[in-house]
Symmetry: C2
Subunit: 737 residues, 2 copies
Amino acid sequence: MKKLFALGIMGLIAVAANAQQKPLMGFTPVSSAKQLQTEQQFDQAISAPRINETLKDLSAYPHHLGSPGGKVVAEKILKKFKDYGFDAHLQTYKVLFPTPKTRVLEMTGPTKYTAILKESAIADDPTSGQEGQLPTYNAWGADGDVTGQLVFVNYGLPDDYETLASMGIDVKGKIVIAKYGKSWRGIKPKVAYEHGAIGCIIYSDPKEDGYFAGEVYPKGAYKNETGVQRGSVMDMVIYPGDPLTPGVGATENAKRLDRKDAATILKIPVLPISYQDAKPLLEALQGPVAPESWRGALPFTYHVGPGAAIVHLKLEFNWDLVTAYDVIAKIKGSTYPDEWVMRGNHHDAWVNGADDPLSGQSAMLDEAKALGDLLKTGWKPKRSIVYCAWDGEEPGLLGSTEYAEDHDKELQQKAVVYINSDDISRGFYHSGGSHALESFMGEVSESVIDPETNVTVGQRKKADELVNAGSVKSKREIMNRKTDPIEALGSGSDFSPFLQHLGVPTLDIGYGGEGGGGEYHSIFDSFTDHERFKDPGSVYGAVLAKTVGHTVLRMANANVLPFDFRNLYATLNGYSRELAELASSMRETTAMQNELIKNNTYALAADPTKKQTAPQVKAEVPVIDFSALTASLEALKAGADKLAASTDAASNIDHKILNETIYKAEQQLLSPAGLPRRPWYKHTIYAPGFYTGYGVKTMPGIREAIEQRNWTEAQQQITAVAAAINALASYLDKAAM
Amino acid sequence: MKKLFALGIMGLIAVAANAQQKPLMGFTPVSSAKQLQTEQQFDQAISAPRINETLKDLSAYPHHLGSPGGKVVAEKILKKFKDYGFDAHLQTYKVLFPTPKTRVLEMTGPTKYTAILKESAIADDPTSGQEGQLPTYNAWGADGDVTGQLVFVNYGLPDDYETLASMGIDVKGKIVIAKYGKSWRGIKPKVAYEHGAIGCIIYSDPKEDGYFAGEVYPKGAYKNETGVQRGSVMDMVIYPGDPLTPGVGATENAKRLDRKDAATILKIPVLPISYQDAKPLLEALQGPVAPESWRGALPFTYHVGPGAAIVHLKLEFNWDLVTAYDVIAKIKGSTYPDEWVMRGNHHDAWVNGADDPLSGQSAMLDEAKALGDLLKTGWKPKRSIVYCAWDGEEPGLLGSTEYAEDHDKELQQKAVVYINSDDISRGFYHSGGSHALESFMGEVSESVIDPETNVTVGQRKKADELVNAGSVKSKREIMNRKTDPIEALGSGSDFSPFLQHLGVPTLDIGYGGEGGGGEYHSIFDSFTDHERFKDPGSVYGAVLAKTVGHTVLRMANANVLPFDFRNLYATLNGYSRELAELASSMRETTAMQNELIKNNTYALAADPTKKQTAPQVKAEVPVIDFSALTASLEALKAGADKLAASTDAASNIDHKILNETIYKAEQQLLSPAGLPRRPWYKHTIYAPGFYTGYGVKTMPGIREAIEQRNWTEAQQQITAVAAAINALASYLDKAAM
């Protein structure tokens, strides 16, 4: 205890000392000191017990999109913002949202089994047996009534189907069963459909988040045999939001697509099940034993199928238009009212959503309370602050996407930054987003103390990285680096439309790593579970509120916005090198594999009693010309250096013009055509992967073309990305005075 | 079929072409052609159906050391050798062999469970329910009656106890349960005892060779819930063989140690159990959840303990002296009767032992039959051929070790080579042993055709290596290498006393990789199992017989023995570089870890709700001086090159003197003092690892000192190994004319 206390003091001294050494990024020595004082006041107003109280209150009933509980939650949030002194209103959209009408899953042979498709309520968890819960289902799968042989497809990703093909197995006309994990769930049925499957079951293997991972709920945090992960399987990597209104806000009178023309609604029925329901199905499979890495923790030998196991899957949905209630709450900026520092977190859940999304939402509401307290002292932000509580994130970022599409021009004109959070738990700070904000986030992460260790959250994160880095070399690199990296953003939360469709500078901030469990999207994501396993007392809720609060306050008050495009350059340069190495390693691997195929090596190494097909010869990988990209990066470096030299916060230049230039710079990275086959995604640097879903692909046009061995497109996309980077480079060059 | 046939022809043409190109190593063009003809005759005499018949006959009843069935098997083997024209006799030793009198394992709390400790016979497998089977037990654990808390220790290796310590758990006064796998089983109770445990249970986790790996017996080849792996836990890395007669043959009147003074008998009771019996014990464990890599495939959360789970283990053994029946069978050499080409495989099993050892033993007997057929044609080997069927290998290489100790001087004088085999199955050729025989074995492996692919067994092995190599770089290295490597030998079969105690040049040859299963040392290692899963029809038994047959015949007939010390040099040079890299990487890792500890990094990264102790600061690793070793290797290179230039088989030099020099050269690598703390092991290059058991440690004196962070001893051992290599270098230099 003593040691920790000493460290705590040291941490605080370090923060204070750092503050004295040099002003905050974008501030003058005077405004910096004042800013730190404001942040101190802000921090004092943040209350973990109040966050916990909010979380308990808002998680008391199911509150999914379109539900009475969802409306109540939106109204409660609206009232809070108003009480705190925000100018708040509900902004509504009419969005499509399928809920289940019929759910049947049964095995008709070799034995009969009818799936239970229901989680069991638990006495210890008072909300787990409530009325009004959405049944276990995946939204956006097709209506369907299909019967077919069952095939186990591991995680259901493209590589898995290659493995199946090497075993001589295809899934045409069959129903696949994939396990949750590795990729976003929506990829699994999409890839199944691409391979000709007629239905897709997704189950939670106990190896992933069940008893293999730890004791199951309610004894421990992990998934018990009845737990099911609900979730969207919308083909969100084409576009997120309402499937019927791509690119425009789903207002009452918006022009809507016919449902059958909506590209993001899947073509086959999809159903998530528990491991209780998966067990008899998987155990009945015949055919080859599944490859070792495919096997889970159920107590039998995993086979791939197909065989005598025949499954009947029947699903029907209510395809209703429902109202999404976004809550938008503003504090008007004193100096630059038309520059908006935006902050958001969704409020809808799949069931009670104590952790997802309320751990983030309740923290955000406490930030609003603390800002309200500051307002009462007469304090005013220079820029406007806009808080957003989104509805309909769970089914596919509906509330945020419709809002962003509805206000696209205004946001591209006014939004300085969009700062997102979502579910969090005890543990380590992490952040992602626009890399021009990397140094800035480094500074923010040094301004908040971690309650478990009493060092800054940035220092603790670094300690975790150091311990987990694989080699002495990578540990040394982490120790020596000047800027702590932020992640690139893919999808999976409301930041996506702001960053990837509009080019608004974006941040996503969170905490986690010590709150593992299996409650995600189930009836067990409850206040009881949160209090026991995720973040008891919402201690880290308060840490999140402080971290995001500092971020908001600094962005709102900085003399010069704290962007540094030199960080962006360094990151992009890293991506460019990565891509060149990827292409060259694919060239070597392909040549070697073709040589081995030619030499009959695979056939010689194979066990003739097992059906195995040698890999097919692939076209040799041509040399790809990265010179346009390299040249554009040189130009970006020059532009970024030049701008950095002219962003002294204490100078007499017109900060308004400079700032407006700076925060709109990210839009230079948009390409008007968007990404190949998914034009909604306009950012040339960040996108969710076509086959990863949430997982990011950086420089996605180039990277995915290489991964898909489409060499012509790779070369075209190098031109496109280089053009965007060149545009940004000359934009920065002009901005620098 | 057509394609395979074409390949087959091509393979044969390749063999033939190769033969025409240049004479076999150690032969003249004329003697080489004659030799190939002899081998062809030999191959024609090998019969897979006869091998299978022998295997079925010898596996008909349990035949462990000291059993009536064991004696019958020895006598049957003796008769065969005599029938084939060998001069054969039984050589007997009186050896200690514990068999169980009392076996009790029960959990007394929190619930009561009495372990079954018996495998269930299976109707489909006629020998599985026979009388006379040894019960499930580990030989050489102590008598004992202990009760204590249970702790799960993963594989029970030193690293696992470090992990336990970091969780604040020690095993003093407790009973540990370790799972089979990773190391040789005898290491587990030894390390448990070193850490203060009072008893050790070893169980077969279904993840290792049970349902996780594949369908269980009798449906598939893997271990069913009652299967138990018997086996020796003798501390064989001190010395193998009869614990009462270290270093000398256990003849009737040999001087024997008191049992309590025998260093290789363990000090705590040890018992192997099935996963049926392990399940309730492991499920009752409390304490921290086991680290992810520790968890097996039983359907619950693995905990480490200790807690309410209390276990009572009571074991008593009959510590009897029994007779080991070695069968020794000779064909007298026509030219050099006092040069012995030795060939061995054990005949004792734990139960019926169809695979272990009879798959190897039956093949060996067919070699003898084929040699007998050659004798009948008037053919005679130049050198004497000595076939050995060992008893008592299973409890600790008793038959072979006692024979080798009993005949140590004679063997060092006469043994040109000892060629071993043991259990084999369908699949890939592999060989290990003295690296001066590496090129020779490369030639042998090109002289036998693989029946599944119709290329040479060497080519098929290389195909397997190529497919499984991790990187393009390592695939390229495999493609480009001139000599296919043979493995270094540790322990686990009868080659150990010849190579590591006497310095007799040694080879161990086998096939496997396509016969996976869980029958090892259980009642299910039966003819039925072998015929279904290991090597149906003993097809690979015949391949082994041909491979070893060619090896024996070439060694017996070569004009100049086919040793090439340049291969040895290259291998030793590789070891030396490996060791220097090991020391330097430990230096870097230690420095980095100490730095992280000093900076409190581990504490900062730890979850404070979990009991975890940061690693302790370790002494920095000094710079170790490898120059003596490097210099000795330079000398060896010169000596090997010089000798290679003077071993032309067609020359007029006195081959007898040259050959005698060559085959005794390996003895130069022995150190009179032996390895630190285990003087029985005299070879400075090859030994079983002190903490791996079967697994080899090359340059063990140096390597283990480094691994144990004993820097003084590492430096001393560099001197010792360099001295041995220098001795060999000048020996070769003198031998070269």
